[in-house]
Amino acid sequence: MNEYQWPYANEFGQTEIVESDVVVLGGGLAGCFAAIAAAERGQKVVLVEKGATKRSGSAGTGFDHWESACTNPCSRVTPKEIAEAYVDEQDHYSNGIAHYIECREGYDRLLDLERMGGKIRDTEDEFAGAEFRDEKTKLMFAYDYRNRFTLRVWGSTFKPALYNELKRLGVKIYDRTEATALLTVEENGKKRGAGAVGMNVHTGKLLVFRAKATMLTMSRPARIWLFDPDLTGLCEFRPMQSIGSGHAMGWRAGVEFTMMEKSVRAEFSAAGRSFPPYGAGNNHNTWYAATLVDARGVEIPYLDRDGNVLKTVSERYYPVKDQKFFLKGGVIDEPKYEYRGPETMPFDELMKRGYKLPFYADLSRMPDAERRVIWGMMVGEEGKTKIPILQNYTKRGFDPKKHALQCYGTGWQSASFLDQERQLFGAPGGIMHDWDLKTNIDGIYAAGDQLFASDCCGFACATGYYAGRKAAAYADTVSLPEADMEAVNAERKRLYAPLERTEGISWKELNMAISKAMQNYCGGVKCDPLLEEGLDLLKSYREEIVPQLYCENPHELMRTHEVLDILDVAEMILQACLLRKSGSKQLNFERSDYPEVDPARDRRFITLRREGDTVVEGEVPLDYFGDLETEYEKRNQNYIHAGGKSNE
């Protein structure tokens, strides 16, 4: 009972070879834009996506904020100002290159999305006359209403629009296909990308993607410390598909990473203490700047950065006198004074003053347009809100004019975690790259969340498009490399092994073991012996448990492959932690054996890559990208002269 025949064709053992100029691995926002940029430039492009491109990726069902659209016609800031502010805000452990691209080109991508059929302005005049709306362009703004560089957008329209554009441009889409390994060749003693290997997760068919240029756009690792074998899909904030396979295959192929020692105390896991994202009372991101009240109905004051109580709702959206702008959003947590915007009174102070728990978000006390834009537009357009929150809560009877929604914990996180429960959040580590968003291996490019210190959806779209056009330019200069069939056969063996066993250990058991190991050996406070013990334990899993993994069908095989990738990423993280011999505030990195925090000698990007079984350490100065505007303009004259359009 409850057992069915596998409903899809069985193509186990079959191999299809697919040739293209550019192969894009991952069909989220970054991958779609990378594919579009390359296809617009006449390249033959293949897109490989584990889910279904039309709604896959972190923003598959939407997103509501487009940050750093500094070139929109209403903006009062420059790309240089905002990109440099981000770098400064993160004490230079920041991706200046990618942030600048986001600030400079992000708005061009929004116009692309509009051309493709996405909605970026209030064309129906639902918010006519609202303070956050520009009456002429009908663009709508969030956070800083004076400087107007964060846009409120209808992100639920974006993925289907991108999908149609990919089809229109002739991009060949391989849905339900997991990318599993990078192919490389040695040319004149130098490694070069040659494409990738993948597997159809319905049929088991092996795919060999031969390409001149390869793009890694596969999000960031997850389920390293947090795993719940019951509600697996809710372990982490991002989709279950996004577990860092791009990082893992990069690591195996010798791609260089940085900041992988950074992890933060977990902020979100709806398999445990958290509530559905944006579905509990809060005043962050989507819900900024909701009115909060305490259990008695007493309003919780908003303060400016100097601690003055703000009297009106409107004041929550403006910088103070003599402040140029303030920063809010994805990676902005506790900003420096210079960039700090309005915020509710600190929790401890509220307790001291006798405010009573629980707190609630009470939109009924806000002006009509502000209430409607939070509940109905932002909650509705942000990922995982249209159905799970807006529709679901409305069915349950929630009316924002009549009800207040309870807050749990503080901030948007809706839960408190232990120090050893960690996540790659808040601009975590990733691939080290140059001004072309190229990795250390020729012909392999990266974008979106695979880059180190990545940020949000605008970041993904802008870097995706940028990397796509650089990869296209590269592909024009090289011939199609041969596929290393020995490597393909080794990969086939690795991929198929668990499906050939009839009994053994399941993917969930190994994921659980890795997560527990990482909590034990790579928790909040690190030290060399613990990290080394952790590596030793993971090595034993590799030697003793991996050969026992088994599964029943290609779907479970895909999950098994994911855990093998999680094992690789966990090892990379332990190795990265071993390399940093001091603590760092910005990297959330604490050492018991090297208690010094941010000594001058360690103010640098520590990089690591694998060469065979050896870990090769490197270092890059924090500001390796140089003056952002100058360096960008040096390399993008064609794009600038074409006015941000594709026919440069």
Binding site: P7, K402, M558
Partner: protein, 98 residues
């Protein structure tokens, strides 16, 4: 003999503590559009044509709602959060008088 040569992969429903998707059989036409859009691939088509897909991996649901968004028969699928994740809301209160 190894499993792949037997050509008979099986898929079992892997139960979990939650029931993310409820189908209304009177509305669903079994078109599988929801199964095809799910990025976590938690559903398989029903062997009985015209019937709603089978949620084989309910624990892998990411609660994004794409299946409901894409459904051509509004109301045929309902997404419901695990009971523990249903946030509480209460009638609004007046600001108390000082």
């Amino acid at each position: 003999m190894s499993k792949e040569r037997e050509q008979d992969w099986k898929v079992s429903v892997i139960p979990c503590s939650a029931t993310p998707l409820i189908f209304d059989e009177s509305l669903c036409v079994g078109c599988n559009t929801c199964a095809n859009i799910c990025q976590c691939d938690i559903m398989i088509p029903n062997p009985e044509k015209g019937k709603h897909p089978i949620v084989a991996f309910p624990g892998e649901c990411y609660y994004c709602g794409a299946c409901v968004m894409v459904c051509p028969r509004p109301g045929a699928i309902d997404l419901q959060h695990p009971v523990m994740n249903r946030a509480k809301f209460v009638p609004v209160k007046e600001e108390p008088k000082q």
